[in-house]
Amino acid sequence: MNDLDDKALVARCLDGNTAAFEVLVDRYQKVLYNVALRMLHNREDAMDASQTAFVKAYEKLNTYDPTYKFFSWIYKILVNESLNQIAHRKPQEELDSAIMAPGRTPEDEVGEEWVQERVQAAIVQLPLEYRRLVVLRHFGDLTYRDMSLALDLPEKTVKSRLFTARRMLKDLLNQRGTVRT
């Protein structure tokens, strides 16, 4: 069943074959979890959002339109779920300290790991409407069209906002002297 494409797997799920959904979970759990993690910056929340997205997708499979890509559709559910979590979150719950690794000394502030942490921190600082574009493009590898479907935005808007988001990210990293831009 692993060699079936997403649409064939969805069709099997709709016939009551839950094993087909397991293949879809295997196929997308890592990328969905990572998208959620970069959106939410908290592992527990990312786990919850990913789980809910999969379960909601399963429950709504009969509404899935096979003319669209399955992963654009499930990303849409995931992004909405992540936004819900952020909306219900208290400000101090925003960051996961295990990911941020605070309290570094100047001696620590060298090397690739430090740059990665700064990049992650800068992504989290982006306003949500821009953050979700950077995350979907770079962590979900979605095309402009896929993002347009996932976010219910015109493709042109996706493109211009993504460009703006990257400029903002560049500025944030320049301020921190992280990536020479």
């Binding site: 839950t18 959904f21 979970v25 890592k30 786990m47 379960v55 990049v119 460009f163 990293l173 831009t181």
Partner: protein, 254 residues
Amino acid sequence: MIDERWDALIQEELDGVATPTDRALLYDRLARDPDVRAAYEAMQRLAGAIRNVPREEPPASLKLSVLNSIGHDARRSVPAPGSRIDVWGSLRAAFVAKPLWGGGFVFATGLAVGLLLFALLGHSPTLDTQGLSGSMIPAEHFTRLGQKTIDFNGVHGQLETGLSSQGPCLYVDITDSPEPTEITVGLGQPNAFRGVHQETPANGQVSVDADGLRILNHGKNRYLLTEAPAGQNEIMIRIRVGESTLEERLPLIR
């Protein structure tokens, strides 16, 4: 600062969507304009920095939780009536009434009073589990992950971790024990399991304290602990009898 047109073209090229004509224009410009070249290299570095952010493996429990939520087995193998005591769930819900199977109103009231005392007085409640009955997980819905025989200071039985419709779970099956036998579950992980169930004959006691769940066992009892936290690969179980302690680790994932 370069013209926005070039900035947009740089991003399209890096996203792999630039048309052949635009790409040719861009590369021609890159060869002649140091500002555009600097902007292109900066965007390349940014994309590289984002690409290098490590992608994490999701917790093993993610898939399991999803499959349990959607699976037919999940609906068929809910605990039998009278078998569920969701201690942590009750705490979390701040004493809001939760569904309890037919174990009875008397038990529910006792549980609520115990939890209220716990909150008000700051010490462990004793949860009266008398009267619970029913089997836990049908054998066909339980996949064993690990097993340890207990033969320790007069305590006999076995520990068994497995996967069920309720996710990773732990059976503590005591066939015989002197009194008192205290079993602490989830050492170092205070809420390692949020659900606790007891099979007949219910002559043990379950309590909650800072170390996690404690079972004070009398004689022969079988306990089922469910609702393990996300991302936990194994569980450490400490069985203490008098001054002696036995520690075992069992897997919670396949």
